[in-house]
C-alpha cells in the first residue's frame, strides 16, 4: 500500500465531514418528528464541543503546539457570561464581546509566557497556567467558588434570536460551528497557515527564512483561545451554569482526546472526534455506569494502532473501516435510542459491524491490497 502523507487533502474526508455536518443540521427536525427534546440537548453538546475541538486543532494539529490547558478558555468564556448575568447585564451585545475579548487576552498572556518553551515544558506550562485559571474560579467566592453559579437568565439578542428556544440555540451553535470550520479552512490555506504548518515541521528553518515564528504562533494561539472562548459562551448558555469543573485539567485532556481521535491537522478531524467521543460516552454510559472502563482502553488502542485517528484511517485508504465505524456509531445510537437499556440489539449491530469489517478486509486482500 503506498504511503500517503497524512495531511494530503482527501476528498472522502471532506465528503464524510460535510455529510456529518448536514446530518447534524437535521437533528432538530428529527427531534421534532420523534418528539424527543433530549436528543437536541445531546447534539447541542456535540456541536459545542466540536467548536472547542476545532479551535484546539488549529494550534495542536496545524501548529504542533500541544496545549494541555485549552479548557481554560471554555471557563473564561463561560465565566464572563455568568458574571455579567449575575450583575444583571444580559445584553448579548455586551456579554459576548466581553467574553471573547477576555478569552483572547488570557490566551495572549498564556501564549506569551508558554510559547517561549518547547516540548514537554510547553505542555506543562500551559497546564500550569490553566490550573491558575481553574483555582481563580475556585477562589471566586462571590461567584459561587467551588460550587459554581447558576445563570438566571440567558443572554438576550434583543429579540433577534431567542436563546431560550432549544432549536434556535442549536441552530446558532451549528451555524457557529460551520463558521469556525470555514474560518479554520481559510486560515490553514492562507500564507499565515502555511507558515504555521511550516513551523510545525521545522521551526528553525522557518526562522532562518525570515519568519518571526514566535509571533505567528502567538497569533494562532490567540485565535484558538478566542474560538474556544466562544465554545465556553455556548456551554454556559446551554447548561445555564458555570463552575470551575468546566475547566478542570481532565476537560483539557478530553479536548486533546477528541482532536487526536478524529485526526490532527485535518479540517473535519475534530468534528469526527467530538462526535465519536460524545456518542461513545452516551451509548456506553447507558449500558454500564462504568463506561470509562471500556473507553479508556479504546483510547489506548487508538493511540497504539490507529495513528492519525479517524481522518488518518480514511486518508490511508482504510476509508471502509472508518466509515463502517461511523455508521456503526449511528446505528448504535438509533438502537440505543429505541431500546434504551437492552443490550441485545446493540450486540447484533456490533456483530454486523464486525462482519462488515471482516468483509472489507477479505475484499481488500483479494484485490491485492487496493484501496477499499
Amino acid at each position: 500500500m503506498p504511503q500517503l502523507p497524512l495531511r494530503l487533502k482527501s476528498p472522502i474526508t471532506s465528503l464524510v465531514g460535510s455529510a456529518l455536518l448536514i446530518l447534524l443540521g437535521l437533528v432538530p427536525v428529527a427531534a421534532t418528528v420523534l418528539d424527543d427534546p433530549f436528543m437536541l440537548t445531546l447534539f447541542t453538546r456535540v456541536v459545542i464541543m466540536a467548536i472547542a475541538a476545532v479551535s484546539l486543532n488549529l494550534i495542536l494539529g496545524y501548529g504542533g503546539m500541544v496545549s494541555f490547558g485549552h479548557a481554560a478558555y471554555i471557563g473564561i468564556g463561560g465565566y464572563a457570561i455568568g458574571i455579567l448575568a449575575h450583575h444583571g447585564i444580559n445584553e448579548a451585545w455586551i456579554q459576548w464581546p466581553v467574553a471573547l475579548i477576555g478569552s483572547a487576552l488570557s490566551a495572549l498572556l498564556i501564549g506569551l509566557l508558554s510559547l517561549r518553551t518547547k516540548g514537554i515544558f510547553f505542555i506543562m506550562l500551559t497546564l500550569a497556567l490553566a490550573q491558575l485559571v481553574y483555582y481563580l474560579g475556585n477562589g471566586a467566592y462571590a461567584y459561587g467558588g467551588d460550587d459554581g453559579l447558576t445563570i438566571q437568565q440567558r443572554s438576550s439578542f434583543g429579540g433577534l434570536i431567542d436563546l431560550n428556544d432549544k432549536e434556535s440555540l442549536f441552530y446558532l451553535c451549528w451555524v457557529l460551528l460551520v463558521l469556525t470550520l470555514w474560518l479554520t479552512y481559510r486560515i490553514v490555506n492562507s500564507r499565515f497557515g502555511m507558515v504555521l504548518q511550516g513551523a510545525k515541521s521545522n521551526d528553525r528553518r522557518m526562522a532562518t527564512l525570515g519568519f518571526p515564528v514566535f509571533r505567528y504562533r502567538l497569533t494562532a494561539f490567540v485565535i484558538a483561545g478566542t474560538l474556544c472562548g466562544l465554545a465556553g459562551i455556548l456551554t454556559a448558555t446551554y447548561t445555564d451554569f458555570i463552575s470551575p469543573a468546566m475547566m478542570h485539567w481532565t476537560r483539557s485532556g478530553d479536548l486533546i482526546v477528541m482532536v487526536v481521535l478524529g485526526g490532527m491537522g485535518s479540517l473535519f478531524g475534530p468534528l469526527f472526534g467530538a462526535f465519536t467521543f460524545l456518542m461513545l460516552e452516551e451509548i456506553l454510559s447507558s449500558w454500564t455506569e462504568y463506561w470509562k472502563i471500556v473507553f479508556g482502553p479504546i483510547l489506548l488502542l487508538v493511540v497504539l494502532f490507529a495513528r492519525g485517528g479517524i481522518d488518518g484511517a480514511m486518508v490511508r485508504g482504510a476509508a471502509g473501516y472508518a466509515l463502517t465505524g461511523l455508521v456503526t456509531l449511528f446505528a448504535m445510537y438509533i438502537v440505543h435510542y429505541l431500546w434504551y437499556d437492552d443490550w441485545m440489539p446493540a450486540a447484533i449491530v456490533l456483530a454486523v459491524a464486525a462482519l462488515a469489517i471482516v468483509a472489507i478486509w477479505l475484499r481488500q486482500r483479494r484485490t491485492g491490497g487496493q484501496h477499499g
Binding site: 500541544v66 518553551t117 481563580l136 475556585n138 470509562k292 479508556g296 483510547l299 493511540v303 497504539l304
Partner: protein, 306 residues
C-alpha cells in the same frame, strides 16, 4: 507564633516528602524512558486502595502497607508490559493520550472493585498519639512517621542512584538511552524494573497519605499535577531536583494555607478568606512553576544530556 511556624514547617515538610515519593517515581520514568506517565496518579490511588483492603484483611496497618507495595509494583509492571512498552518511541502527545486513557480505566476499575464511597484506613492506637517535639508543641506521631519514612526513602534513593550498579545504569539511561542499550544492557528489563520501583514509591505515597485524608476515586488526579509541577521545577530526570522542588512546593502550599487566611482575614470575612486563601495558595504553586520555567526553561537541576 514561632511554635505555629515550626508546626506548619513540619506539615509542609510532611506534604513535601509525600510529594517527593510520588515525584521520584515519575521523574525516574520520565528521565530514563522519556515517558510522560499521567497514570502515575492512578498507581498512587491503587496503592492506597490495596493498602486499605489489605489492612482490613490482615487487621494490621503495617502488614497491609507492606503487602500493598509489591502488589502495586506488580500492577505497574503489568501495565508497563501490556500497554506502555510500545509507546517509548512515540512522541509526548501519544504518551499523554494513552496514559489519560489509563487514568479513566483505573478510576473506573477502582469504582467497580472498591465501590464509590471510598475507604478509610484506620491507624493502630500506637500511631494515634501525639508527642512533644518541642516544649509546648505536641505533634501527631503518624505525621512524624511520614516525615521519617520520606527522609529514609530519599536516603535510600540517593544510595540506590548514586552508589549502586543499578543506579549507575539509571543515571546513564537518563543521559543516553541508546548508548546504554548498545553497551549490552538489557534496557527493556531495566525499564520494567524502574517502572515497578516507581509504582511502589507511588503506592507508598498513597498509603501514607490515606490515613490523613481518605482513600477515594480520583485521589491521584490532582496530586499528579502537583507531582508533574515538582519534576518540571526540579528538572526532568533529576532525583535531587525532585527532592528540593517537592519540599519547596510542600512548604509554599502549607504556609499559604496556614497564614494567608489570617492576612486576608483583616479585609474579608473568615469564610471568604478561607476560600480565597486556599485558591491563592494553590495558585502560588503554579506561579512559582511558571516563574521557574520562564527563567530556567529546563528546570532547576536539569539532568545532563537532555
Amino acid at each position: 507564633m514561632t511554635l505555629l511556624l515550626v508546626e506548619q514547617f513540619l506539615n509542609g515538610l510532611q506534604i513535601g516528602l509525600l510529594l517527593f515519593l510520588l515525584a521520584a517515581g515519575l521523574t525516574l520514568v520520565f528521565g530514563i524512558m522519556d515517558l510522560v506517565n499521567l497514570a502515575h496518579g492512578s498507581l498512587y490511588m491503587m496503592g492506597a486502595f490495596f493498602a486499605a483492603v489489605l489492612t482490613e484483611w490482615t487487621g494490621s496497618f503495617l502488614a497491609g502497607a507492606l503487602l500493598a507495595l509489591p502488589a502495586t509494583a506488580l500492577l505497574g509492571i503489568v501495565t508497563e508490559v501490556i500497554a506502555l512498552r510500545n509507546l517509548y518511541t512515540r512522541d509526548h502527545l501519544d504518551h499523554v493520550l494513552a496514559t489519560f486513557g489509563l487514568i479513566l480505566f483505573f478510576n473506573e476499575l477502582a469504582r467497580v472493585l472498591f465501590g464509590v464511597g471510598g475507604m478509610a484506613i484506620p491507624l493502630p492506637d500506637s500511631l494515634l498519639t501525639h508527642f512533644e517535639i518541642l516544649p509546648g508543641l505536641p505533634y501527631p506521631t503518624y505525621r512524624f512517621l511520614i516525615i521519617l519514612v520520606g527522609l529514609l526513602c530519599a536516603g535510600f534513593l540517593y544510595v540506590l542512584v548514586q552508589r549502586t550498579r543499578l543506579g549507575m545504569l539509571i543515571r546513564a539511561g537518563a543521559t543516553n538511552r541508546e548508548m546504554v542499550g548498545a553497551l549490552g544492557v538489557d534496557i527493556k528489563l531495566l525499564f520494567t524494573l524502574v517502572f515497578g520501583l516507581g509504582s511502589a514509591l507511588a503506592a507508598l505515597a498513597g498509603l501514607m497519605a490515606a490515613p490523613i485524608t481518605t482513600v477515594q476515586i480520583g485521589m491521584g488526579d490532582n496530586i499528579l499535577i502537583l507531582a508533574l509541577v515538582v519534576i518540571v521545577i526540579g528538572g526532568i530526570g533529576s532525583i535531587r531536583g525532585a527532592f528540593i522542588a517537592s519540599l519547596l512546593i510542600g512548604l509554599v502550599d502549607t504556609m499559604g494555607r496556614a497564614f494567608l487566611p489570617n492576612m486576608l482575614g483583616t479585609v474579608l470575612s473568615p469564610a471568604d478568606a478561607g476560600t480565597v486563601s486556599e485558591a491563592l495558595s494553590s495558585m502560588l504553586i503554579y506561579i512559582l512553576m511558571s516563574g521557574v520555567l520562564i527563567l530556567r526553561p529546563a528546570g532547576l537541576f536539569p539532568a545532563p544530556g537532555r
